[in-house]
Subunit: 145 residues, 2 copies
DNA sequence: AATATTCCTAGCACAAAACTATGAATATAG
DNA sequence: CTATATTCATAGTTTTGTGCTAGGAATATT
């Protein structure tokens, strides 16, 4: 029941972009330095986020990435699902309809797992990138005072 | 974010025991037949459940397992945690206190993950083995009628 | 004594996760 | 217009975990 590093890193990358959201492009090298994630691994993680239109990119010198929307318009669930796939606790609930399992009809645990899937998704969709930003900013204030 | 087969099978094994809870001992071989799980793999899965006192066992001919308590006294969370370990979405939340992560203090996502851990555990602890039994039994009735 | 079970431990095959590596495409800067 | 800095695409590698298989000891019943 663990979220992979891709999911966790994706959240940190998006949060980093949100905190440096001046309108200018932020090169991955900068984020890599701040977040202790290798450049090459980050490229792989941000790639699906770019394809999903969550971040905008420009190549070449002084290129980089920036958010496509306001931080309040991304839920953590949005971001996690893009890099992790469906947030479902079983394979039979991952592929839209329960194609795989021959026991699906009579399965006494399926509705339990559906319930779990639903509370997970409801929760991760209740927190936005902006919420994480505020968390971060208030923690910094605590530190300064 | 997947539950392993151990967790899923553990639930099915416990449910099978609950549905055959006549007071007699049920040998794993019987459960293996009904549940399409190999005997040897089931042995491994039920072992921690026996050690946790969730099932009682007797060796030898006409030995087997039975539930230690009434089905209503097990939550799905209880069972899953015994075989899967802590139901936490990150390693840093799995080992009691966040020992591992040097970033824990300033981590802006930790409370998000704590929230996720909490909703997961709250949900899995809200469903009991008896609930699964009722699900199963009413499904069977549907089928018969 | 034979048999049927749980219990214990080790190993193995496969898949997935977590990176690393190489280099092409492309935009800017000087 | 060349050097440089970036994204983009793809493939390879290493490590870890999952999902089982195997063999046999211990123990209770028949």
């Amino acid at each position: 029941m663990k979220v992979s590093t891709k999911g966790r890193y994706a959240l940190r990358i998006m949060l980093d972009l949100a905190l440096h959201n001046s309108g200018e492009l932020v090169p991955l090298k900068d984020i890599a330095g701040r977040q202790d994630i290798t450049l090459k691994y980050m490229e792989q993680i941000i790639s699906p986020l770019a394809k999903a239109g969550y971040v905008l990119s420009l190549r070449g010198s002084s290129g980089g990435y920036r958010l496509a929307r306001h931080p309040s318009e991304y839920t953590c669930g949005d971001i996690l699902r893009v890099v992790e796939g469906p947030l479902a606790p079983t394979v039979c609930l991952s592929s839209g309809d329960f194609v795989d399992c021959p026991r699906a009809d009579e399965c006494p645990t399926i509705s339990f797992w559906e319930g779990l899937r639903d509370v997970i998704n409801k929760y991760v969709d209740s927190v936005t990138l902006e919420d994480l930003m505020n968390e971060q900013l208030s923690a910094q204030n605590d530190y300064v005072i």
